[in-house]
């Protein structure tokens, strides 16, 4: 049994073990993309690079035998830099978005593609739930949001942008919320100064988590700045939580921002602080005093930004109560960006095929939405049917496995940054292929060779192969066969082995995951 050092620890490796196996046995993680226990070393991704300090050389952990006397360093600065730069190269040819551009553009982070998938599949209630979780007030925003998501929608480059706003508005309206009991009382209380969309959004999130909220508003009604054109029914439905969850609302109550001034008749910030565990300042143009229990949530002019600010403030309060450091985190995102004209055709062809029935339904939906606003008692089933057809126009630019894609996780871990003079895209956009419930997006494929090795191992005829060479090489079913035939009986195993979402189940979307 060879004895070697891995990150300074003495390890006895099994006979014929690779460095990777020895490390894993010893509990040391080494990243891999093209490694698969059934296929042997494919040595294509080069991510498992480690250094043998005894020889002063880098080597591939997956393919090198663990030998007596090795001194393996798995992640010093040099190795991490090599991995980071290699990942950047993989990402340069990885043609796909981790999150759809719409989702990325939404300040409140509405998971647009997931919502649309639910709508498309006729699961309107689930779509409404997603919209509510992310937007808090999807009905109201359905009327007044400036919809940055639609401005960036890739379908817009093709013909017309998706009516995303109408979709979440329509879903919220058609499937009204049945307010459940909030979580058990936490015993904490929060004062929220300002009952605009930001304050209300914060109140809604906090109340749901069982915190007692006190909402102060200078005017005599909540959300005084809200557009009058919003139907009362929507407004009432989305603000109903205030009554049902007993959010103490103090209207026409001015809060004196001057900390020192304590007074019987006027509410002051100091009093708020004294009476509550935290204070959220959700008003326009106010400096947030530097105090750990005072959290700012600027009431922005753009409604969806205001909602986002309120949500964020609520999370910060949550973190404060949990005694944790609040970290705003946006995961690494591979961006496809704007497509060239010829790429667009290839990109959209299969995606468009999937919803050929809905051609022309787009306009209909817009009209019906307009009608709904005017007549809130309209035919709900008709509305959801139109929404379903509209949702079917979505090109689904997002990733089907955004939380399990190893490429993304490593990119995040190693801090890959894209763009600028350092990393030029080298991507080829090819149409999506389909085998039953499995989708293959060639653009996202990193040519690791795992699916090829699996189909070879299990004797699939014709099997998958790599065609062409160099930067133009691509994975495909051999000799012009269909993807179904290429993957054969090991299709599911290939999907599970794929390190990215190049091969993915169409319905195994992350909307099912928390």
């Amino acid at each position: 049994m060879p004895r070697l050092k891995i990150d300074g620890r003495e390890v006895d490796a099994a006979e014929n073990a690779t460095v990777l196996e020895a490390a894993r046995e010893a509990g040391v993680a080494i990243p891999t993309l093209c490694h698969h226990p059934e296929t042997g070393a494919l040595t294509s991704c080069m991510i498992c690079v480690v250094r043998n300090a005894a020889a002063g050389k880098t080597l591939l952990a997956c393919a090198s035998a663990a030998e007596e006397g090795m001194d393996i360093v798995t992640n010093d600065d040099e190795i991490c830099a090599l991995r980071r730069d290699t990942l950047a190269l993989l990402l340069a040819e990885h043609a796909g978005d981790c999150e759809g551009p719409c989702e990325r553009a939404c300040p409140a982070g509405l998971r647009v593609p997931q919502m649309l998938r639910r709508l498309q599949q006729g699961e309107g209630a689930d779509a409404a739930t997603i919209a509510r979780e992310d937007l808090i007030f999807p009905g109201i925003l359905g009327s007044i949001c400036t919809a940055p998501c639609q401005k960036i929608c890739r379908r817009g480059q093709y013909d017309q942008a998706l009516a995303i706003r109408a979709c979440h508005g329509g879903a919220a309206e058609t499937f009204p919320e049945k307010l459940e009991q909030p979580q058990p009382a936490s015993g904490k209380s929060v004062a929220i100064i300002g009952a605009g969309l930001a304050g209300l959004a914060a109140a809604r999130v906090l109340a749901q988590h069982g915190h007692a909220c006190r909402l102060y508003e200078r005017e005599d009604r909540v959300c005084p700045g809200l557009d009058d054109s919003i139907p009362d029914a929507i407004r009432e439905a989305e603000f109903a939580f205030l009554k049902i969850w007993n959010v103490a609302t103090f209207l026409a109550t001015d809060v004196d921002m001057n900390e020192s001034g304590q007074s019987e008749s006027v509410m002051t910030l100091a009093t708020c602080l004294e009476e509550n565990d935290a204070v959220i300042l959700a008003i326009k143009d106010a400096e947030t005093p530097n105090h750990e229990r005072i959290i700012g949530a600027r009431e922005e002019t753009m409604p969806v930004r205001a909602v986002a600010a309120g949500k964020r403030a609520a999370w910060r309060v949550q973190a404060l109560f949990a005694g944790e450091e609040y970290q705003e985190k946006r995961m690494f995102n591979s961006r496809l960006g704007r497509l060239e004209e010829n790429d667009l055709e290839a990109y959209a062809v299969e995606r468009k095929e999937r919803c050929h029935e809905c051609e022309g339904q787009h306009a209909l939906f817009m009209v019906s939405r307009a009608g709904m606003n005017a007549a809130p008692d309209g035919n709900a089933s008709e509305l959801s049917c139109a929404a379903q057809k509209e949702a079917a126009r979505c090109l689904h630019c997002d990733c089907l496995q955004p939380t399990t894609c190893k490429l993304r996780l490593y990119a995040e871990e190693y801090g890959v940054t894209l763009g600028g003079k350092r990393n030029l895209p080298h991507r080829i956009i090819l149409p999506i292929e389909r085998a039953g419930a499995i989708l293959f997006e060639p653009g996202k494929c990193i040519k690791c060779g795992v699916c090829i090795a699996l189909t070879r191992k299990y004797g699939i005829d014709p099997g998958m192969t790599i065609a062409g060479r160099g930067v133009k090489s691509r994975v495909r079913a051999a000799l012009g066969a269909t993807l179904q035939a290429g993957l054969g009986s090991v299709a599911e195993a290939c999907v599970r082995a794929c390190p990215t979402a190049a091969l993915a189940f169409e319905n195994e979307s992350h909307c099912e995951q928390p």
Partner: protein, 787 residues
Amino acid sequence: MDVDLREVDRIIETHGRDRQALLPILQDVQRLFRWLPPEALRRISDVTEITPADLDGVASFFPMFRDTPGGRHTICVCDGTACHLKDAERVFDASLKALDIAPGADTDARGQYTVQKVQCLGCCTLAPAVQIDGITYGHVRPDTVLEMIEDFERATAAAADEKGRPRPLPDAPPEIRICLDSCCIAGGNGRIRDVVDETLARYRLPAVVKPVSCVGLCHLLPLIEIAVPDEEIYTYTKVTTDAVSDILLRHIPPPGAFGRLRAAAERRLEKLYAGESESPVRRVAPREPDITHFLNIQCRIATEHSGETNPADLEEYIRLGGFAALRRCLDMAAAEPGAPLNGDAIIDVIEKSGLRGRGGAGFPTAEKWRIVRNAVNSTKYIICNGDEGDPGAFMDRMLLESFAYRVIEGMLIAAAAVGAEQGIFYVRSEYPMAVERTRLALDQCRNAGLLGDNALGDGRFFDAEVREGAGAFVCGEESALIVSLEGRRPSPRFRPPFPAYSGLNGKPTLVNNVETLAMVPWIFRNGPEAFAALGTPTSPGAKVFALAGKINHGGLIEVPMGMTIRQIVEEAGGDVTEGHTFKAVQIGGPSGGCIPASLADLPVDYEALTEAGAMMGSGGLVVMDDTDCIVEMARYFLEFTQMESCGKCVPCRVGAAQLLTMLDNLCAGRGDTVDLDALTRLAEVIQQQSLCGLGKTAPNPVLTGLRHFRDEFEAHIHGRCPAKKCRPLLTYTIDADTCIGCTKCAQACPSGAITATPYEAHLIDQETCVQCNGCVDVCPVNAVKVE
């Protein structure tokens, strides 16, 4: 076109049904149909062991395999380094235009011609070179493309009618020595030989034409030598067809008084009609100083007897000491009949000689042989690597075309040393003559009993065959070469295990370069000490270089290791063209680097070159002068490696493409988008992280360029090309004082950028100008200024 599957079946029958037959089958199918029809591929996968995945992977890998029907004839425009320097791109464009081929297509409407670029025809000294169906043309210009095609059509139309009545010959007739290697034919020797044949027949001259091995005097082609017994050898260079009869008659009198009279009369008449007095032939007697110099500084080991021996004459090879080395080895390693040979004795000699692999990396040959010898396995293979993919090198081609027996003898000695029974010559299919001559030589050896059952004495079997490559630089990498022989996509394997332990079919396999094997017989005939005495202590012996580029004498040279670059350029190469200065040499091809003139006193050996950031590589040596741009050169090589990258590992696949984009930007006037630090880091990542030698060395041209010519890179960032080579960075203006107003430039301008009023100074509109250089070419008074 209907695909006759019976033909496909016939091809399969010839090559067998196992996986290894994949490449030969595909090559024959391609030759037959001029593409790979899907029906044929399906048939192959149905009736052989070859899987569809392998078929598709291999068929789509090699550019020689087409997925659409090709033309009846293929015009291959060489885009090797030397041809590239001499504007092969314009010849390519002119060929497309001459055949009226639609944009984006590669075949003319009648399906007669397909035009394609090939990496290197190995005729660097005749740059730019073009090959049409195996006939090579040298020094092709855009305006002679049509002429070339017409000549090809004439040549194919004229059925090869053998001429001449039998002539009475004396016992030792005078010899007319002419090299008929592929590049010499392209250089004009082919036509000269025809005229020589005609002349001999016409005057019934008692002489023989002897095809000989190449002397490497490529810059003096066409070239013939007249060897009359007991007289000095006369060399005639740059021979014209008109001069042939003069030359022959000068040395070889026609038989009989009547014949002499007729010859004299005819020649007088001819001259009368042609109105010329003396033919402009350059007579060299016996050998002129510059040739002598070119030849004298050389040291012939792999190319011993060059210019004297007939490449296809086995008897002559044996008469001159051929196979003596093998016999000596067999004696040295003698063992009981039936027992394995004592190969260690042979390997000890190689070790003493210090021979290192000539393929590029310089691995000690003895060490490699010993590993294979010590491997415990009943089956071992030897592969002679003749997949010379470097776009500026042609020594392997020349060695196989001229000295195939020597390479075979080297392989037999290696076989005796390591205990192998089967050998494979892996030769590029772009070298049809090398393939043919090697096959022929193997057949002759087999007939002479040098191969086969008793090849290694006492019933010890050894035989070898030729396998053709299909045009991929990466196949020169030993693990990719082996995978390709096994009928898979030629993607390199992770090493270790090295092929010496586990190679072809998992058996121990010795992979040696052509030149390495060609060195072996000399070592045994002259002793390892003699070999070690040549060259430098770490790099003994001699090395064959393909010398090309901006020098007066290009050609193939074999010089002792340790000679300085300056000696090679100035003495062998006859220095750069008059009026220009020597700027750098590009050594080692796409894996090597540029060595600046300031380091020209560097001795050429493995260590010194590596030290300077270049590498020996296969031995391409391209000389650059002040009009050559280092950035453009790096871009050219990156374009090559990027195209040749197999695509398996990401640093090479994507990294090389990114590096190329950056260099493209530099050369195309988008230099401001390039960050040299980012470029350097990318190059380092590719170097460190790539799986095989191709990727690891791909950034060398960039890194050496940055090391020795960083200012040129910086100039490109600021939109200047100091060598005035990168046209998008240039501005063309007309000097009003010099311009005579002849309007020639305006007529030549393809984009109508020149407004020209006769007899007034012309003007170039900078917006419309496409920097084609056309105006510079036609201006009679050099009024066009380029900045």
